[in-house]
């Protein structure tokens, strides 16, 4: 029987929509400030370009070509690309240049906003009545007077239409800036997608769509005001836009910002739960805490190194491959020690310790199928593998981990099939696959049905969960003391149970925060 509080979690999932939505105020404010800045920058770049383009066909081709090219890059990739770009620009602007968060989001979104504004401005100028332009010259206007008194006012409604399109695009695309560490309405969307909390996703989408509709309506009012030469119409539109922007800016002012400890998390349940668990320890010790959820792995690592994020949970194998660029496997202890040293020397990041469990690549089988074949280790698998089917996510069979296993045990599966991670266990259940690639702390493994095959030759690298502390926080002994009890405290079974409670899709599903509370209880902290 579910406990009463579990029921209330279930009820939360149905009735919590409005509560969740109204809790998004700070994300909305951050979203508005980001989008307005990006559109503003887009306008500042696009308008002079458009004026130039109207006078030089070559400039028109080049600038429109560039803006169209930018548009073909997926927004997510464009945002991510600014991380290495800004990182390399540090050589010019110094180490203080932010590589994550507001700046790269602003630049990527401004580039994205460029095309609609530029195209409309160029088209508007190309379609101006040549008789009117000739008259402007004929009455004695200088080039600047012609631009200011004739071209600009006549093109304004069309340019405004372009700005309107840009605003709607930007507000949508800005949700993706969550992945590079910029708070936005994407935060609830990404967090919700990871934990399959659809209320959270819905609230984020609703807020973002609502904002887009409001912006579209207000900019539309300005556009009509310009077209009808109605001063009150565009005056009211501009006033409303400025009012909203001002409110968002005021809401962004945060007197405690410097005192807050920022905890970052990656895009999956386990990391979200651990972030909440760490946050809870810090809050109980009297600290103010802020969460930056849903960051990409490389982004989060860079964010900690640059102290944009203060604490994260990473995995030894991930850092080993992605950051140290190593492909060898020196064994669990040596890998950890090398990594601690490397982080200290290269980034100033403090690796505080290991949480106790691994989230490693592993092979899972149904318990009954394994018994039937007499398999309990990867070595047992080798002689029977040619009769078996293995399933994995498309990426896995390209990874060094897979090559290492194949080589170490001489495993040659009869058939290899790709499944999306969500359906991996369904494939095992339906006997579509005899073995699958899995993550050792996957919540679904806590069911009695499956076993993980042992790896006696240590072919698979270790993925110890480790606590990463930013250089800025690394001498804050009070904060570090508050989270130190987590070191070595979490068994893989306990982590699986917590993950399962968030990943499950029935009524007993809970939020990462609640899962963290229960995990804390289990750990006796």
């Amino acid at each position: 029987m579910p406990a009463p509080e579990m029921r209330s979690e279930g009820v939360w999932a149905v009735n919590g929509f409005w509560e969740t939505l109204f809790g998004l105020g700070d994300k909305l404010a951050a979203h508005i400030v980001l989008c307005a800045s990006a559109i503003g920058l887009g306008i500042v770049v696009a308008l002079p370009l458009a004026v130039w383009a109207a006078r030089s066909p070559m400039a028109a081709r080049l600038s429109l070509g560039f803006a169209s090219l930018v548009q073909t890059i997926p927004a997510l990739a464009l945002l991510a690309l600014f991380f290495p770009v800004l990182l390399s620009l540090r050589a010019v602007f110094g180490e203080d240049l932010p590589t994550l968060g507001f700046l790269p989001s602003l630049l990527a979104l401004a580039l994205y906003a460029l095309l609609p504004i530029l195209r409309n401005a160029v088209t508007a100028q190309a379609n101006l009545d040549p008789g009117v332009l000739e008259a402007a010259d004929g009455v004695g206007m200088t080039g600047w007077q012609k631009l200011r008194l004739v071209e600009a006012p006549l093109a304004a409604p069309f340019i405004m239409a372009g700005i309107r399109t840009a605003a709607v695009w930007t507000i949508g695309a800005a949700t993706l800036s969550t992945t590079i560490g910029q708070p936005s309405l994407g935060d609830p969307i990404f967090a919700g997608l990871q934990t399959q909390n659809w209320i959270l996703v819905l609230a984020g989408c609703f807020a973002s769509a609502g904002l887009a509709l409001v912006a579209d309506a207000l900019l539309g009012l300005i556009e009509r005001g310009l077209a009808n030469r109605s001063h009150w119409q565009y005056g009211a539109g501009i006033a409303a836009v400025l009012l909203g922007l001002g409110a968002a800016l005021v809401a962004q002012i945060d007197p405690y910002e410097d005192e807050r400890i920022v905890i970052g998390s990656k895009q999956f349940s386990e990391n979200l739960i651990l972030a909440r668990l760490i946050g809870k320890q810090l809050r109980e010790a009297g600290f103010k805490v802020e969460y930056r959820d849903g960051l990409g792995s490389a982004v989060l690592h860079g964010a900690v190194a640059s102290s944009t994020v203060d604490i994260s949970v990473d995995y030894t194998g991930t850092v080993w491959t992605n950051e140290l660029k190593r492909t060898d496997n020196p064994g669990r202890e040596a890998m950890y020690e090398t990594l601690v040293e490397w982080e200290r020397e290269n980034n100033g990041t403090l690796v505080l310790g290991r949480l106790g469990f691994e989230n490693a690549y592993a092979f899972a089988m149904r318990r009954d199928r394994a018994r039937e074949l007499g398999v309990s280790t990867l070595a047992d698998l080798a002689p029977v593998a040619s009769r078996l089917t293995v399933g994995g996510d498309p990426e896995f069979f390209e990874r060094p981990e897979w090559f290492a296993v194949r080589e170490a045990y001489g495993i040659d599966f009869g058939e290899i099939r790709n499944f999306s991670p969500t359906f991996m266990f369904n494939a095992l259940e339906a006997r579509e696959a005899d073995a699958i690639s899995a993550y050792s702390s996957d919540g679904r493994l806590s069911a009695e049905t499956y076993i993980l095959l042992e790896d006696p030759k240590e072919a698979l690298p270790s993925y110890d969960a480790i606590l990463m502390i930013s250089p800025a926080l690394s001498d804050n002994t009070k904060a570090l003391d508050a989270i130190r009890p987590l070191i070595g405290a979490i068994e893989v079974d306990e982590m699986r149970a917590a993950n399962f409670s968030v990943d499950r899709e029935d009524d007993l599903k809970v939020t990462p925060r609640e899962a963290a509370r229960r995990l804390e209880e289990t750990l006796g902290l």
Binding site: V132, E134, A135, D137, G138, V139, G140
Partner: protein, 275 residues
């Protein structure tokens, strides 16, 4: 201002024509193969009303636009009041030259009053409301129209505003490029007459481009006929009607004359039937 200039160099100003073309050429295209104006030399005296007549593509509009440098000559010079137009700042030159455009070219986002006052405004002056009313009155429009937007006017009313705008800066020279081409015949006739009256009462020098020989003969005191970029006839209306000016000019004169004769014949025939 103008009076001072005249008194400073009386002999020169009086002796000199207001506008002089000296071997003016305008070529277009690669290597200047397309010739729009092929070496025009001609002088226009102060106070005259000159019509530039010719078929489409004869170069008459291009010649006109070279006066206020909307088109620059490929070679040769255009002198306005004795000075090369190309050496003057275009904006300053164009404020001294009223221009009535073929496409009317009112600024659609400005009121009638703002359209009329645009020239003085560019020079940093504000045209008083009384002056705007006076200019509207000159072109026989209700001064109350000053507050309207151009799209609330008829075609004829718009071109009247166009004329008022050209006159707002007290120009020495009035250029008109097919000014009545887009108007219906009755409006066209009335506005033509009005412009002629203004030309006389304001002491203007006027150059009008038209393809309609009848209009030229009725309004101008001198008709220049252009063909393939050259001036092929330079006559008074009287001498053109008397058969002067050569084949091209007579070809153009023949059109309205034949029309008039046919109309007269129809009238006679009609009178005959009635009897």
């Amino acid at each position: 201002m103008k009076a001072q200039t005249i008194s400073a160099t009386p002999s020169k100003t009086i002796a000199r024509p207001l506008l002089e073309f000296d071997a003016v050429e305008r070529r277009y295209g690669p290597n200047g193969k397309v010739i729009a104006v092929a070496g025009v030399t001609c002088a226009i005296a102060k106070g005259s009303f000159v019509a530039l007549v010719g078929a489409s593509g004869s170069g008459k509009s291009t010649l006109l636009k070279m006066v206020n440098t909307l088109v620059e000559p490929s070679s040769g010079t255009v002198l306005f009041a004795g000075e090369d137009v190309c050496t003057q700042p275009p904006a300053a030159l164009r404020r001294r030259v009223g221009y009535v455009f073929q496409g009317i070219g009112l600024f659609p986002h400005l009121r009638v009053s703002e359209n009329i006052a645009i020239g003085p405004r560019l020079a940093g002056e504000t045209l008083p409301d009384e002056r705007i009313a006076e200019l509207l009155d000159l072109v026989e429009l209700d001064p109350a129209m000053a507050q309207r937007m151009p799209d609330a006017l008829s075609g004829g009313q718009r071109q009247r505003v166009g004329v008022a705008r050209a006159l707002a800066g007290d120009p020495e020279l009035l250029l008109m490029d097919e000014p009545f081409g887009a108007l219906d015949p009755i409006t066209r006739d009335a506005l033509g007459e009005r412009v002629l009256e203004l030309h006389r009462s304001l002491g203007l020098t006027t150059v009008m481009v038209t393809h309609d020989m009848a209009e030229a003969l009725l309004l101008a005191d001198r008709v220049l006929v252009m063909d393939k970029g050259e001036i092929v006839a330079d006559e008074t209306p009287q001498s053109l009607l008397a058969g002067g000016g050569g084949d091209v000019a007579q070809g153009l004169v023949a059109v309205p004359r034949e029309q008039a004769e046919r109309l007269a014949a129809m009238e006679d025939a009609g009178a005959g039937d009635a009897q």
